[in-house]
């Protein structure tokens, strides 16, 4: 039985276009090995063309000029470069972010706090949405930047970026958005959104791991995080990864919107409907809450809380049955970290420990979704019927 992969938000499988673009590059072309893009000879020329072609593809995808796209190692570096990149020596200032950001943003903001900056973290409502007014209220004379993600990796909830960015930039404040979970999944146009910085991750959209991009609006300030050889217009030194860029660019060109988005939304909605249907006829009574359901969500993401179920046991059960899902918040050891996103949305720690995330992608089929819905509810029902005995104290409980 073929395994079903439903953890696209953690990483997406390498798309066929990215795969063939990278494969082609691994071969020499007319006896010219791939060189360093900065070299003057034929090998360098070949590599440079690859990198610039990829840059154009990524810039087209987000409506930017190629010169506004900086290649970095991934979404985390893109976020760090944007946030730490606005720091000038001198007086520390103030920045604003939200409580549901990815750790790459939150930790980069906290790092600035260590350097004397003040940080305001804006909360979200029960649906996981940031309210533009809540952001506006926090803005001060010393505010230099606001960072709000476009869509959340755990719930898929989409933030009102256009409104927030407009209000923020009107006051001359820089606006950064982590769009890692949006680019490739929905229409993203940096001009329409009105942002100064936007982070993209290749492996969240069918490209290879190890590369990402930061959109930097022409004229927006950026101090490099790394020191070195001056590549990427001195904004990000280091030999440009031509092989990875080729994959990233091909993945960008392969994005089909709104087609993919509509299809993925349909499949996600089908998954949720099927799970509900199976639960309704199940012998065991299990409460299901879909987190952020009432808010606009990126197609393909579903955060499900099954009352009283241990989410780690559920993920393991599903893995043993051949389905890859997630608890939504992972620790690098492979275990779970309690979710700060769900906590910010007001879920109790018990509910958080009962939540799983299912995220599908362009390669997901309807058959996979139907099978997954059944497997998931079977697993949930089995765990529920075993019962939830209280934690034994050991002594006297015999």
């Amino acid at each position: 039985m073929r395994r079903v992969y439903l953890d696209h938000n953690a990483t997406s499988p390498l798309g066929p276009e990215a795969r063939s673009a990278m494969r082609r590059l691994l071969d020499e072309e007319a006896g010219v090995p791939l060189g360093n893009p900065s070299s003057p000879h034929a090998s360098g020329h070949r590599a440079r063309l690859v990198v610039e072609e990829a840059r154009r593809a990524v810039s087209r995808l987000i409506g930017a000029a190629p010169s506004e796209v900086v290649f970095v190692s991934g979404g985390t570096e893109a976020d760090n470069l944007a946030i730490q990149g606005i720091v000038e020596p001198g007086e520390p200032a103030h920045l604003v972010t939200s409580s549901v950001e990815h750790p790459a943003v939150l930790e980069a903001c906290r790092k600035l706090r260590e350097r004397g900056w003040e940080l305001t973290v804006v909360g979200v409502d029960r649906d996981g949405r940031v309210h533009p007014d809540d952001v506006m209220k926090t803005l001060r004379r010393e505010t230099r930047m606001v960072s709000i993600m476009t869509a959340n990796n755990e719930t898929g909830v989409i933030q009102p970026i256009r409104e927030i960015a407009a209000g923020v930039r009107e006051r001359g404040i820089l606006f950064h958005t982590d769009a890692v979970q949006s680019v490739g999944k929905r229409e993203i146009d940096v001009g329409a959104l009105g942002v100064d910085y936007l982070a993209i991750s290749s492996h969240k959209m069918g490209g290879p791991v190890g590369i990402g991009a930061l959109y930097v609006r022409e004229g927006a300030p950026l101090r490099p995080l790394l020191q070195g050889g001056g590549q990427e217009r001195r904004r990000r030194p280091g030999t440009e990864a031509a092989l990875l860029a080729a994959g990233f660019g091909a993945a960008a060109d392969a994005v089909r919107l709104p087609g993919d988005e509509d299809r993925m939304r349909g499949l996600r909605d089908l998954l949720e409907a099927e799970v509900r249907r199976h639960l309704a006829v199940s012998a065991v009574d299990i409460g299901l809450v879909i987190n952020g359901e009432a808010a606009p969500r990126v197609a393909g993401t579903s955060s499900m809380t099954f009352a009283g179920i241990d989410n780690e046991a559920l993920v393991i059960k599903m893995d043993l049955a051949g389905y890859a899902i997630s608890t939504g918040s992972a620790c690098s050891t492979g275990s779970t970290r309690p979710s700060h996103v769900l906590s910010a949305m007001g879920l109790s720690s018990t509910a958080i420990a009962s939540t799983v995330r299912i995220s599908l992608g362009p390669s997901t089929t309807e058959e996979e979704i139907r099978r997954a819905a059944e497997a998931l509810t079977d697993a949930v029902a089995e765990l529920a019927s075993i019962g939830r005995a209280p934690l034994a104290s050991g002594a006297g409980s015999r």
Binding site: A313, D319, L320, P338, L391, S393, G394
Partner: protein
């Protein structure tokens, strides 16, 4: 799904071999590691179960061809083990975190997961054996064959359900056998050094751990008087938790005879010292007693260990109400520390055990009756 056994894997050689032996015997095995604390929180907090240890466990699992998962139990461990550790010191007692962890965290988690996955057994690398009474079918624990490595003491309060599912593949083996097996099986962890101390304390320095944890709630241990059993002040101690019952050195007292720590009295912040005869204890009160099988109603004799490394002392155990029991030692026992576990054995059979509430030594009631001078732990 075939009959599956969950194996708790720490990344050490013992649990690696336990898993390997089960696989070799043809069982369907799943390896599970429990993440008990956040190693990213500054430096190397502990000697065991670090991310590096998990990588070792994962690689052993891969070599054995078994599935492997890491489960996050930081919150449960913090609540059941670390908080209890600190609370016991505050009460002037000596905690036993390993016993608490085994029943409240390790076996509780593995057994619950086993039920969820329909696994038929939970195995660990502990040196202990399970005994099934041929007449009743009831299961209990036995010491391991390797008496020097026997860890049954730490498993005394497993619940009936936990024991029902428990398997200890190393119970009949010596440590030497285990290392040889590890090499024979080609396990990467064959020569890995075992952690001997409490797992969450780096270098065995529990005092530093305690100090930091108390600091987190704004507390500090205060210095106080060292007194003898008549209340006479002999010196100054630097915080009660730094001293162990039975400790002789490091007291900073010049005395004509050998003095040992015999009690920690938090209400007066006093460290009570006395001669070797005062270290001996003839009676002990226990609470939270548990037994494998039916709890006895009448007194019985057993060999009782009051520490892990205790050859054991013959005692008469008189069960009381509400999980209490009274121990009367036939020969006096030394260094009985409130908070430790008293475990009852009959030969190799582990009958049960309880937690030491207090040792009935003639001196203690006198000390306790004195008015408290200053709190042991101050904000």
């Amino acid at each position: 799904m075939m009959a599956t056994i969950l194996v708790g894997m720490s990344g050490g050689v013992d649990s690696s071999v336990a898993a390997a032996l089960l696989v070799e015997a043809g069982h369907e095995v799943i390896g599970v590691s429990l993440q008990l604390y956040d190693h990213s929180a500054g430096g190397r907090l502990a000697r065991c179960c670090s991310p590096e240890d998990f990588i070792d466990a994962r690689r052993v699992a891969a070599a054995l061809g078994i599935r492997y998962y890491v489960i996050n139990k930081e919150e449960a461990f913090s609540r059941h083990v670390l908080d209890d550790f600190v609370a016991e010191y505050r009460r002037g007692r000596t905690p036993n975190p390993c016993v608490r962890c085994n029943s409240s965290v390790k076996f509780e988690t593995l057994v619950r997961l086993a039920r969820g996955l329909s696994a038929t057994a939970v195995a660990t690398g502990h040196y202990a054996r399970v005994f099934t009474d041929p007449a009743t079918g009831r299961r209990s624990l036995l010491r391991a064959c390797d008496r020097a490595k026997d860890q049954s003491y730490f498993l005394f309060n497993l619940t009936d359900e936990q024991v029902r599912l428990a398997m200890f593949p190393l119970g009949e083996l010596s440590k030497q056998d285990v290392r040889l097996a590890a090499r024979r099986l080609g396990l990467e962890t064959a020569d890995k050094v075992e952690s001997q101390d409490v797992c969450f304390v780096e270098g065995g320095d529990y005092r530093e751990f305690l100090r930091r944890r108390l600091e987190e709630s704004g507390e500090r241990e205060a210095a106080g008087p060292i007194v003898d059993s008549r209340g006479k002040t002999l010196g100054l101690h630097q915080g009660l938790s730094r001293y162990t019952i039975g400790q002789r050195h490091g007291l900073g007292i010049a005395a004509s005879r050998r003095l040992y720590v015999i009690a920690r009295n938090p209400s007066g912040n006093e460290l009570v010292v006395g001669g070797p005869e005062e270290l001996c204890c003839s009676e002990v009160a226990l609470d939270e007693t548990s037994y494998f099988g039916d709890a006895p109603c009448s007194p019985f004799e057993a060999t009782v260990q009051v520490r892990h490394r205790d050859p054991g002392t013959r005692a008469l155990v008189t069960p009381g109400r509400a999980g209490q029991a009274a121990l009367r030692f036939i020969e006096p026992a030394r260094g009985v520390a409130p908070g430790q576990a008293a475990v009852f054995y009959s030969g190799d059979r582990l009958l049960g055990g309880g937690w030491i509430a207090r040792g009935t030594q003639a001196i203690l009631p006198r000390v306790a009756r004195r008015a408290p001078a200053r709190a042991a732990v101050a904000k």
